[in-house]
Amino acid sequence: MLSVENLQTFFHTREGVVRAVDGVSLELSKGGSLGIVGESGSGKSVTCYSLLRLLPMPPARFEGGSAGFEGRDLLTMPVKELRAIRGRRIGMIFQDPMTSLNPYLRVSTQLTEPLRVHLGIGKAGALDQAVAALQAVGIADAEQRIHSYPHEFSGGMRQRVMIAMALITRPDILIADEPTTALDVTVQKQVLDLIGRRREDLGTAVIFISHDLAVVSGVCDYVHVMYGGRVVEAAPVRELFENPLHAYTRALQRSIPALQEKGKPLYTIPGMPPDLSRPSPGCAFAPRRPARARATCLANHRPELVEASPGHWVQDCPGCRDEGLDDAF
């Protein structure tokens, strides 16, 4: 349904070229759910913003690749055509609901707008559907609350309003960029359940971006792990957790505070994320590996993805694949 091939999005800044996304390929099937995991700056959000062309250009520029959606390329199609897809066929929700809700407009106006613009539904009909959409995301007194302004809702409620808005046109794909990171665990659970139900009921395909492996494990069937603008590992979710092949995936898993023993220092990944304006000629994760592992990391050419087992892809860097070296000195 959506097929991203070798996407390259660079930012041309005064300090140089930042290779934010450098050769990412994704495949999303109808009704599927895909997770993208990585730290801040790994390129996971830029990947998704690229698909909908939501980045300021310049400084951003597509240097290569394509994003096929129903046989057409999202990256090159005329903006007019893209507008018919954006918000209609592909919806997006963001981490901070206040950046996508207009503080000056009533929720009713914002929720009915996509119906009126994209589907040409009349005012009264759109309002009925908008109320139903708010009820579907679990907002009580939807008939009254719909006439409120965004600031009159709590954080969790706003997040739900935004989800209702993204889903109101029944898009085929929902892109969710860290939609629960700012929320309480209890509200987070409600939002995740909500997205799960929409998938089941309407077959909405989901791309879910998060830094939190535990959240992704509950939502997605297939997971891509990104590091330094590239995918380092991609596998069905169960396989990724039971048999992680790349050192970065293992390090991410080990650093979840909830899973660690009390009384001992928590595991942390040493070093810093790479500077994407000065990409390493070899393996990008090498500087964060123990010295003995680093010695066997690729130094002069970049590791390519190889299919280690059916559906399980990993960057083929010997120093990062060897689990035995994870705790070496």
Binding site: T186, A214, S217, F241, Q260
Partner: protein, 267 residues
């Protein structure tokens, strides 16, 4: 004597349509020196109001806050302002809590001078103290002339922690200090706080909605719900054998990795 005693603290706000919002509704607890108390609850449970009451940023409706036996609630405002150096706060969002127009040096030297007014004019001593503080929280002291935006989220939270440590407080209230950070950065900040508690004998209230994070750092956990403390006990006990149904509900909401067997059984 306990370092901090909170005695039947109540804060009511006027609510919509003449109703009263009981944000904090009869809270009593005490905290020993060197202890870390985890305060857990959802947004709206009153945990932030409770923090503000302890810091004397809000007057209570009734009840008392005692620091080393001295009742803060009855002190004149000018004295409270001076005593406020004794309790410092770390906030959730280091992007919002640091002044973007001040360099790290200005932010930290200002906070140091609050405790030691004599340092204000002494640039060498100030530089030295700032450098020591930065090293203490794991930052490169050479970066002291930089502005907050030049640091990553995790580093910014370290600056915020250094700023809280600068006036040598007796109590630190950390309000969701890691919830805005990446999972991998969370561990680094938790380790830092853990080390500071151990090495400096800090007393801390660690506020969070995430029981699994609190469990790691707190000696005791207290669970707050609708303005009341519903369950208090040793951290491991509350985490593994919660008595209250509300605590269990909070625990069930923590996302878990569904597979991987032993690899992901939470410890």
């Amino acid at each position: 004597m306990a370092l901090l005693e909170v005695d039947s603290l109540v804060k009511h706000f006027p609510g919509p349509r003449g109703r009263t919002v009981k944000a904090v509704d009869g809270v009593t607890f005490s905290l020993e020196r060197g202890q870390v108390l985890g305060l857990v609850g959802e947004s709206g449970c009153g945990k932030s109001t409770l923090s503000r009451l302890i810091l004397q940023l809000l007057p209570p409706t009734s009840g008392r806050v005692l620091l080393e036996g001295e009742c803060l609630s009855s002190l004149p405002p000018a004295v409270v302002r001076r005593r406020r150096l004794d309790f410092q706060m770390v906030f959730q969002d280091p992007y919002a809590s640091l002044n973007p127009r001040l360099t790290v040096f200005s932010t930290l030297s200002e906070a140091i001078a609050a405790r030691h007014p004599g340092m204000a004019g002494n640039r060498t001593a100030c530089t030295e103290a700032v450098a020591a503080l930065m090293r203490r929280v794991g930052l490169d002291a050479r970066a002291m002339r930089k502005y907050p935006h030049e640091f990553s989220g995790g580093q910014r939270q370290r600056i915020a922690i250094a700023r809280a440590l600068a006036p040598e407080p007796r109590l630190i209230i950390a309000d969701e200090p890691v919830s805005a950070l990446d999972v991998s950065i969370q561990s680094q900040i938790l380790n830092l706080l853990q080390g500071l508690v151990r090495d400096l004998g800090l007393t801390m209230i660690f506020v969070s909605h995430d029981l699994s994070v609190v469990k790691y750092i707190a000696d005791d956990i207290t669970v707050m719900y609708q303005g009341k403390l519903v369950e208090t006990g040793p951290a491991e006990e509350v985490f593994h054998h919660p008595r209250e149904s509300y605590t269990r509900r909070l625990l069930e909401a923590v996302p878990r990795i569904r597979f991987g067997g032993d690899r992901f059984s939470s410890g």
